[in-house]
Amino acid sequence: MDSLSRRHLFGAAGTLMGALATLSVLGADALISEARAQGPAKDRLVIGISLEPPVLDPTKNAAAAIREVTTPSIYESLGRIDRNGAIGPGLAESWSISEDGKEYLFKLRPGVTFHNGEPFDASMVKFSLDRLFAADSTNPAKSLYTDIDKVEIVDPATVKVTLKSPNSFLLYSLSLGDAAIMTPKTAPTNDKSPVGTGPFVFKERKEGDSITLEKSPTYRDPGSIKLNTVIFKIVKDPSAQVNALLAGDIDAFPGFQAPELVERLKKDPRFAVVIGTTEGEVILATNNGKKPFNDLKVRQAIAHAINREELISAESGYGVPIGSHFAPHNKAYVDLTKTYPFDIAKAKALLAEAGYPNGFEATLKLPPVGYAQRAGEVMANQLGKIGIKIAISSLQWPQWLSEVFKERNYDLTIVAHTEANDLDRYARDGYYWGYDSPEFKAKWREVLAATDFTKRDELLKEAQRIVSRDAVNGFLFQLAKIGVWKKDLVGLWENSPTPQVDLTGVYWK
């Protein structure tokens, strides 16, 4: 090896580095001028989302992010959930329900076309509903549809759904993305190239970065859609979310996850910060099947030890106190926050009655989500005041699902139950709380059988009371929805009755 070739080596390296540096500077210059020349586009919207949808088919995976991106923009269902959580017509124009609540007749909307040009008719509805409850179905929400006995095509514009037993939540379930209507031709490939009937067509996906939708040329009412391009950008890190908004890379963040960073955005005159409601009840989930939590007195003691104001202040004040497993904005809600009011003396007395005058030790397993981490510290402190010594352990999400949810190997955990109408979990056998109440199960059967919705609301109130009285879990607060978007953007949902981003009424002022 002589010095000549070594000199070549170093020379080449030097040239390469020089080139890199020059390229950097050139790149910067060219782009600054380009960025400044671009004005804001009025038909284009960049939406930030904090989790990436793994696939683009809600019938294959439970991730909420899939629903945010695809329903109802790409896929539609028979019913449609509106911004207040009410069910209106979707791909079904109207429906009628038989007296006994077992037969649903759906009249389908005419003039609907799939993005691939196929006209929509009853055969697609039968195909899509049949695969929900089929024996080999891998739909994540299969359990919502197992009451369905059969789906029949009456004529190309009418479908009859017959149930084995009445289910007063069926219309709601059939309005979810899990029951999206697909065509048999594209159903197998919808996870990568989704085809639906919605106002937007899938254009491209850059894994790990973004998903781009464009206005559908075949949509039945094209005039109502004001946006031509919608880009969902994935931004996981909360401070990166704030920076992306401040730098103008993103126009809207409908589900902003970091309340502690919101103040900064509130002060910025370009943004509107909109606080709304969600279906997420944050609970101190309790293993009712395990000592000492199988003792009602212990659970009542915990309920008395909960200081909700303090927990909500850890959420920077965003959140509404709850006393049962039910969302305060629902019209069937009943305020039960005073069932076991905050009272440390009473809590201690109950613990002593249960045989734990000096308290006991317990673990609190927390999933890796902001609200649980924040509430976890506060909760451990509050329980410490009545003598329950908490050891906190933080789990990854898959670990939480296996250890806590599936194997029920836990004492306490904090988690938000984000589905609507999820009071039914208290009637489930083998659910991770280990709560088994014949009284509640009977009440829930009544709820399901009630086709008169006023009667159903009354029954729902009674069901909430049972759960609250039994102090099944610690009921903490309802998660707030923090939406941040540019002030001249109109029409995004203020509340989140279901995890979807409805873009049909969205436009720039």
Binding site: S24, P140, E207, L401
Partner: protein
């Protein structure tokens, strides 16, 4: 020479086989059920079982290991469970972000660190040296993600010279390089500090050599002594360390990619662990094992070419 080469190659292969066993074992003992992660809390037991059977999670460990190795040998890595796309495409799409990012960071680090190190050695035990050493102390201590956030606040939010994050894709090459500048800067901070220190101490060693004194004695200019005589020999340890740093850069990219929302390999690994997308984790880790082994092999070869001694000893 041939014997030396074949020995090194055999050692690398044995390492690789051991690595596949370790990686497989670690991935398999990760707590968490991939099917449960995909289908969520409402999934029925029969649905979970159906999905496990579909992806072969119910097969015996040995079968699954052999299937994976078979796939590796035939370059058929299979499909990601979470994304449904082919693993090789998934990794390929991410490498085009992470490799340029690391290269840019390494290039930038070398460009800054070598002159700084030479300068510090030249000003040995004088204020210039102290200044540089102070800077490297900060560079090693400051977490690079924090530095990244500060860079974004300054250059993307306040002055808007650079995007705050994201990656446009190489069909827009200028924009892509532009998007990688701030991440590369924050990624390189720690590496600059390390390389500066290595350059400085290597320079101090060579500056003490007799031949440098001879060069000075025969009246060579200070610049010629520093760059022509001393630096050239000092660069050998510097190159070695720069090679080692390349591995750390990929690890550092996990966090930097998150701060700047770059769809790189680091993010892919992070997401795959969270999704329990076992097949992706296994293949990415093995790919990087192969990369590191190759780099080591090349460094060994380069030594053998540059310096005859290891060849003889080997």
């Amino acid at each position: 020479m041939l014997e030396f080469l074949s020995r090194r190659l055999a050692a690398a292969l044995v390492t690789l086989v051991l690595a596949t066993i370790v990686v497989f074992a670690v991935v398999e003992v990760l707590p968490g059920d991939p099917a449960l992660v995909m289908l969520g809390t409402d999934a029925r037991p029969d649905t979970l079982a159906a999905l496990r059977a579909k992806y072969g999670f119910d097969q015996p460990l040995l079968t699954r290991y052999l299937q994976w190795i078979g796939g590796l040998l035939t370059f058929n890595l299979g499909n990601s469970h979470a994304y449904g796309t082919s693993v090789s495409k998934l990794i390929g799409d991410r490498l085009v972000v992470t490799l340029p990012l690391s290269a840019l960071a390494l290039g930038w680090a070398a460009l800054v660190a070598i002159p700084l190190g030479v300068f510090a050695a030249w000003k040995h035990r004088r204020p210039g040296d102290w200044g540089v050493m102070g800077f490297t102390q900060i560079g090693i201590s400051v977490p690079n993600f924090w530095f990244g956030i500060v860079l974004v606040l300054a250059f993307a939010v306040t002055w808007q010279w650079f995007p705050a994050g994201g990656f446009p894709g190489w069909q827009e090459p200028l924009k892509s390089v532009h998007a990688l500048i701030l991440p590369a800067l924050s990624l390189s901070l720690g590496e600059i500090a390390i390389l500066t220190r290595v350059t400085r101490s290597a320079m101090l060693d060579t500056l003490r050599e007799d031949y440098v004194r001879t060069a000075r004695a025969k009246g060579a200019t200070e610049r010629r002594v520093l760059f022509h005589h001393a630096l050239r020999n000092a660069l050998i340890p510097v190159t070695t360390v720069a090679g080692l740093i390349a591995g750390f850069l990929v690890a550092g990219a996990v966090i930097i990619e998150s701060v700047f929302r770059l769809p790189g390999v680091g993010q892919l690994v992070y997401d795959s662990i969270n999704n329990r997308d076992l097949i992706v984790i296994k293949n990415v880790v093995i790919l990087f094992t192969i990369l590191v082994l190759t780099v080591n092999l090349l460094v060994d070869l380069a030594y053998a070419l540059l310096d005859p001694r290891p060849r003889i000893r080997a």
